[in-house]
């Protein structure tokens, strides 16, 4: 219990530190938000108000989230490595606390990104929401998966020399099993058609697998 308490405090300390630095530097948040905004505005202008199939709308939303997330998540460990603070952090903090502190930080950053971009996306594409709860649940589970896979991928690519290109290449196949049900469920939330709860359960199970695998693999990095 004491060990758990100590690790929990370490996770909270890392999370708080990352937010403090993130708010002071603002570069990472700005990159994510600007990428998402530019992508949504460009896509919206190119369709010129024409009707877009809910299936394409759902795919567009997740493409925007994926690439905007890529712009932000890759710096999670990279910024520490560049500043030379990663060896210090690794020396003082338990490995699992570093992973989960950063994973929760990435997840909350993605939530902030989605809160920012979703209303703009829905307004610009005039997208109807027939099942709001389903949309929220899908985005919630989708973001957990992206955060878990993204954090591990960011840790993996920190020592790579071509990390900029490597990060999305490695992240995409890992998150694909999350994206496919996420796109299908997002489409259903736009159309209001009946959905099977099993799709949400599949996403939740895959999230769990990603978190567990990240936790096991991180110890070997």
């Amino acid at each position: 219990m004491k060990l758990f308490d100590y690790r929990f405090k370490s996770v909270v300390a890392i999370l708080r530190k990352d937010f403090l630095i993130g708010m002071r530097r603002r570069a990472t948040f700005a990159a994510m938000m600007m990428f998402a905004l530019t992508a949504v505005a460009s896509l919206s202008l190119s369709t010129s108000g024409a009707f877009v199939e809910p299936k394409f709308l759902a795919a567009l939303l997740w493409v925007v989230i994926f690439f905007a997330a890529s712009a932000g998540i890759s710096g999670t460990f990279d910024d520490e490595a560049t500043a030379g603070t990663l060896p210090t952090l690794k020396l003082y903090a338990p490995a699992q606390a570093i992973l989960f502190g950063k994973m929760i930080y990435v997840f909350l950053s993605l939530v902030a990104l989605t809160i920012f971009i979703l209303p703009i996306f829905l307004i610009l594409f005039d997208a109807p929401i027939e099942n709001f709860l389903l949309l929220v649940a899908t985005i919630f589970l989708g973001l957990i998966g992206v955060a878990a896979a993204g954090t591990l991928t960011a840790a993996l690519t920190t020592s790579a020399t071509v990390k900029g290109g490597l990060f999305p290449i490695l992240l995409f196949p890992v998150t694909l099993p999350i994206f496919l049900p996420a796109i299908a469920l997002t489409e259903l939330s736009f159309t209001g058609a009946a959905f099977e709860a099993s799709s949400l359960i599949v996403m939740a199970v895959f999230d769990l697998i990603l978190i567990t695998a990240s936790s096991i693999l991180y110890d070997y990095l």
Partner: protein
């Protein structure tokens, strides 16, 4: 005790350590000296299991905690001195009181009442070094890895740090990598690494 058991390590064609076996005991300051490139910093990293040897093993009890002051281990420029100090001590489960923070600052010669809320990016190299040492003192570690710990300090700062190292040695394993004669002089035992 830190045990090196048949440890070998090479970087490319350079064989830095070959089949080293030794025991590093607590209660004394162990200096690690040698020419540039002899492997002093690498020896410290091996001792702290920060890097792994190519073969052989380095062992110490799992419950022993490590802290370090080395040029490679940076602190957060975007955080203030107090935020850095609190952050690293929280990672080791310590909650520092205001009095304790001021006391730590005094022990390393850093006025945290004045500079506590200043971001580290505005600190001189010597002030950063003092803050790193305050962090090391705050976390109650069993093994200290010190790589030229007083390299950027003035005489007063150097004396304070030497006093802290001397006072802390009982019950700790202190490894000090250096080429500085003054730093060598505070060591109880010296390991000289050949080039």
């Amino acid at each position: 005790m830190i045990t090196f058991d048949d440890v070998s390590l090479s970087f490319g064609r350079r064989e830095l350590f070959k089949n080293i076996s030794l025991k590093l005991c607590g209660g004394k300051i162990i200096g690690v000296t040698g020419a540039n490139g002899a492997g002093k910093s690498t020896f410290l990293k091996l001792a702290g299991k920060i890097i792994q040897p190519d073969s052989g093993s380095v062992n110490f009890p799992a419950d022993k905690k490590i802290a370090a002051v080395t040029p490679e281990m940076k602190i957060y420029d975007n955080l203030t001195a107090l935020e850095n100090l609190k952050f690293f001590s929280e990672l080791r489960g310590k909650n520092l009181s205001a009095e304790k923070i001021l006391e730590l600052g005094e022990r390393v010669g850093l006025d945290l009442e004045t500079f506590g809320n200043v971001r580290v990016e505005n600190f001189s190299t010597g002030m950063r070094q003092r803050l790193k040492f305050a962090i090391l003192l705050s976390v109650d570690a069993d093994i200290w890895l010190l790589d030229e710990p007083t390299a950027n300090l003035d005489d007063a700062g150097r004396d304070k740090i030497f006093n802290e190292i001397r006072a802390a040695k009982s019950g700790k394993i202190i490894l000090l990598a250096t080429n500085d004669k003054l730093e060598e002089n505070i060591c109880d035992e010296i390991i000289r690494l050949p080039l």
